[in-house]
Each structure stands twice: as structure tokens, then as C-alpha cells.
């Protein structure tokens, strides 16, 4: 069995600060991490490998530093890692990214047939959840998004049955492999890296592919040129004109404060009072 897992290296957005005056992202010192959602895809792939044997290949498109993210995945037990890195990819939106990744996956397929491709649900910097569906379409693979559980994988008959999160319920879907799965978050728990795997990861020669290695055929489809979307403006959220009306708390008991809030709120919003009166249980 051969699984390809797509991961992205992202800035740890919990630690991102925005410059208060210029509204630009202050990236200095912000650590780069493996996109947290992608770790659920990695773990699911590793579990399938535990059950069926075979190989897990990691794929990432990004700057040379993204090698670190791939090494981290090796430390959890992935077998191989490819970094697609080339100046020509800069400025790619999701359409251009999915073109480049799909192209790289075709090259990987030439080395060894692929049964499944995994992506995360979404990235925390791009946040679009579009790259997975995009890759699937380009490779004419069956697309399975928001997968919460793999119910059955039948390698001999090349079928897979999964549970997919939908609005108000779960779909049970059966399809053919190779297919592309975007894994839902919190569906599994990432294993710990073992000492031998950590050592292997540190020494692992991540394969670096430029646009030719990745088999890019149409240069107009990658990077900025291949991106239909244009970012026209970046700005900070507008502050509200007035701050909260503070209910006086000095020397007031909690009871007074509560009564005063209700008084102030319902005086200014009589319709709300009526509405809440009808809703509140007797």
C-alpha cells in the first residue's frame, strides 16, 4: 500500500502579532510548524500503514525551510519526504497550489502506484479547505472530504468505505481507490515519535524537487501567474466607535449590578425584553 500525505508548513498563528500601526504581520521569531490539521491526516495514514503495511510518502510545497516540517513527519514514522520548492511557485493561490501538488503526485505515482492521498481539512494560514478538492479534481480521483473515520479499506478489490461529516449527520460512503481524503480534525491522536525515528528524521535526506522534477508542464498554471485570485487589500479590523457602557460596580453588590444591567439593557432594547420574556421557561 502506498499513501501520499500532503502537509504545509505554516507560521504558528497563535504567536503571530500584527503591527498596531502598519497592520502588517510581524513574522520575526514566529515559529513555523506543520499545519496542525495535517497531523490528523498523517496519523490516519500511519494507522493504515500499521494495519496494511506499505509506505507513507510526505509531500509539501514551500520554501527550502519547509524541509523541517517534513522531517518532523518522518519522526512520527513516515517513510519518505518530498519538498517541492522553486521560485516559480511563489505567490500561488489554491488553484495554482493544487496544480503543482497534483503534478508532483503524478511524478510520485511513476515511482510507485498510489492507493490514497491525504490532506488536512484546511490550513491555518490559508484556511480555505480548497487544495484537497483541487488536487482530487486534477487527478480525477474520488474526493472524500471531512472524513471522520475509515470504516473499511479493501486493497485487493480497491475499495474504501468511510464516514464523512455532513450537516446534521454522517454520510457513509463507499468508493474506489485511489481516492483523496481530507481528514477531519480531532478524529485521532497523533502518536509519539520514537527515538530511532527521531534519529532517522534528523538525518533524513528530504528529496527536493524543482518545477521540472515535479513534472510541471504548463508554466502559466503555477505561482502568481497561475493564480486567478488577486489580493487587493489587507487591513485590520475596524474598532467599534463606542466602547461598552459600563455598569457601575463600585460599592454595588452582585445583585445590584445584575439588576442594573437588566434595567439598562431592557430600557435601551425593549424588543429584546419582550422576546426574552416569551422565550424564558416558566
Amino acid at each position: 500500500m502506498h499513501i501520499v500525505v500532503c502537509i504545509k508548513q505554516v507560521p504558528d498563528s497563535a504567536q503571530i502579532r500584527v503591527h498596531p500601526v502598519t497592520n502588517t504581520i510581524m513574522r520575526q521569531g514566529v515559529p513555523a510548524i506543520v499545519n496542525p490539521y495535517d497531523l490528523f491526516a498523517l496519523e490516519e495514514a500511519l494507522r493504515l500503514k500499521d494495519s496494511f503495511g506499505g509506505k507513507v510518502t510526505m509531500l509539501c510545497m514551500g520554501p527550502p525551510q519547509a524541509e523541517e516540517a517534513l522531517k518532523r513527519c518522518i519522526s512520527f514514522g513516515a517513510d519518505d519526504a518530498i519538498l517541492v520548492t522553486d521560485r516559480a511557485f511563489a505567490g500561488a493561490d489554491t488553484l495554482a497550489t493544487s496544480y503543482a501538488l497534483a503534478s508532483a503526485i503524478r511524478q510520485i505515482e511513476k515511482e510507485q502506484a498510489i492507493d490514497l492521498v491525504f490532506t488536512g481539512k484546511q490550513t491555518i494560514d490559508g484556511d480555505t479547505a480548497q487544495v484537497g478538492p483541487g488536487i482530487a479534481k486534477r487527478l480525477s480521483m474520488q474526493l472524500l472530504t471531512y472524513v471522520s473515520r475509515i470504516a473499511e479499506l479493501d486493497l485487493a478489490n480497491r475499495t474504501i468505505t468511510i464516514e464523512r461529516r455532513a450537516e446534521g449527520g454522517v454520510q457513509l460512503l463507499k468508493t474506489r481507490t485511489p481516492s483523496l481524503i481530507t481528514m477531519l480534525e480531532n478524529t485521532n491522536e497523533l502518536r509519539f515519535a520514537t527515538m530511532p525515528d527521531m534519529i532517522r528524521a534528523a538525518r533524513y535526506p528530504v528529496r527536493k524537487w524543482n518545477k521540472d522534477d515535479a513534472g510541471i508542464e504548463d508554466l502559466s498554471k503555477i505561482g502568481l501567474k497561475g493564480s486567478p485570485t488577486v489580493v487587493s487589500k489587507v487591513f485590520g479590523p475596524t474598532p467599534r466607535a463606542v466602547k461598552a457602557e459600563q455598569i457601575p460596580v463600585d460599592k454595588a453588590t452582585p445583585r445590584d449590578i445584575a439588576v442594573n444591567l437588566i434595567q439598562a439593557m431592557f430600557t435601551q432594547h425593549p424588543a429584546l425584553e419582550q422576546d426574552m420574556l416569551e422565550r424564558a421557561p416558566l
Binding site: L95, E167, Q171, L173, R279
Partner: protein
Amino acid sequence: MSDAPAPRKPAGRGGRNLELPEHLKAYKGVWVFIEHDRGSVHQVSWELLGEGRMLADTLGVALSGVLLGGPDDNLTAFANEAFTHGAEACYTVRDAVLDGYRNEPFTRGLTDLVNKYRPEIVLLGATTMGRDLAGSVATTLQTGLTADCTELKIDPTSRALAATRPTFGGSLLCTIMTLAYRPQMATVRPRVMAMPKADTKRSGAIIEDTLGMVETDIVTKLLDFIPDANTSKVNLAYADVIVSGGKGLKNPENFKLIWDLAKTLGGDVGATRPVVQSGWVAAERQVGQTGKTVRPKLYIAAGISGAIQHRVGMEAADVIVAINNDPNAPIFDFAHFGIVGNAMTILPALTEAFRNHFAIRRMKAA
């Protein structure tokens, strides 16, 4: 594995082509994909029609809905409902293979309609269905798609869709446009846009189309649909009253004060991400950037700092009350009413005071 066939695209000369090529200027009109499942339309579709109406009016073009469904789906009733929410026309495709959502036939259905009728804008809900479909259709059509938009406008100079969305975990907003490609696609999360008023006097035209696929063409089979158990059927996005708790409540014991107040108000319980991550409440109660967008009439936030990632999910509430013991907490910058104090004493007092208030009001009314 081969690249999906794509329509002809403008060749970017030298650098990047930002001009709309002549042959794409024929794309006219605003479309909303109307999502329905097991007999009812997702509210987000009506919210999008409300927003779509404004875009269509600005451009002076028609607003249409798209309905794909199986033989037993009441597409006509859904279309009529779409007309009351602002659509002038609905494109419907009815086929046995469209019974229950599956990516392949729905992608084909929507893609074919777009290629045939050429709308300039296509909007979808950012749901598990809408996002699955939007990504596939945009790739097949080789056009731009902007996910999870919080604001949609028409850029006056280019007349292109200016779609604004949070970026970098919500710390910044960015406006994205698709200039040289059509259609321009965007998804919007439930509750981000206001619900338009229904006008039952409105009507419209239904344009029926066919799919031209048979079940044997479709690889993925829908074996079963397991509806969520009632206990976990939290529809926070559409709750009118929400009491939310943050890390300031310190422990799950104290968090019960949130439930008490919510119960007294007949409201729902929300939470911040750290609260969900600590396991005090289920993930579906998380409000914010990576949780739900809510739009209640009243949102009471206790022990919540008001981080931007939380704020983007709740700032559209009509009335926001914040309880926080730090007078400088960011939540006070956008709440309507503030109480600087200890949530553990204020919450029970509020529960009691609301209960009394309602009792007195009811007595007076009787």
C-alpha cells in the same frame, strides 16, 4: 490519472493578466447554490440570496438560485421559497443520481449549468457540502474561489466581486478579487450574513435542466446517512440567546454557572476555544474563527478576553454583554454593556435577577 478537462483560459501575456478577456464579458448574473438536505433548505442559502440581491442590484443583473436534487426532493417548493427571498429565477436539475449529496454528480451538475448559462458570480454556503462542491467546481472551471468571506461588495472600478475574509487566524482581513476569470466564486459561513425578509408576493421563473449521468457512471456510493443524535443537535449558529464562557471561569465546576444562566434565559451555551480544548464542553459549542459564527439577539460573554479569533464569530450579535474582571480586557472594546467583576459572583446574581425580572413582568401582564 489525468487532468480534468478545462475550458479555454486567457493566456497571461508576460506577467499576470488582470484584464477580463473579451469572451468572458458575456458572463452575467449572480447565482446562489441552494443547499438542501432531507427535505429542508439550509438557512445559509437564504442568507446568501439576501447578499446576492444586493450584489445583483449594484450590477444591474439578475439573481438566480441553483437547485440540484433527486426525484423526491421538492425542488419546486424550494424554488418558490427562493423567490420570496429575492431570487428572480431558479435553475433546477432533477435526477436520481442527485438524491443525497455526492461530489461527483453535483460537481458535474453545477459545472455544466455554469458553462451553459454563464453567471459572473457564484455563491455557496461554507458548509461541509458547499466547501466540498465549491473547491471541485472552481478547479474544474479553473477560476478563483474565495473561502469563508465575511463581506461581499462590488468594486466600483472593475465591477468585480470584492470578497473580504479574515486571514492569519483572523488577526487581519484581506479583500480578494478574481479579475481575469469567470465566474467569481465565494463561500460564506452560516450566520455571517443577515437573513433577508421573505416577501411572499414575489415570484420567479423555474428553468429546468437535465444532468445526463447515470448511476453506473458514478464511482462513489452513498450507503447510509446517520443523523446526529438529538443530544448533540446543537444549532448554536441559529440560537437567539447565547451565554458563553471562557477560560476565566477557571474550571468545569464554575462553568456550570454558564449553563444555569442559559437555562433561565431559554438560551444556548457557547465557549471559547481553550474551554473546548480543556474538554469542559463539546467542540460544536465553540464560537469563533475556527468554531461557529453566531448572530444572536443577546450574547453574554463571561470570563472571555475577546481575542480577535473569538470576536469574528460573535460580533454581529445585536446586544453583547461582557463580564470580565480585567477592565482592560479587549472584549470591552466591542461589547455593548460591560461589567468589570468576578464572573463567579456576577453569573449567579444575573441568573437570579433575570428570573425575578421575568416573574414580575409576567405577574404584571397577568
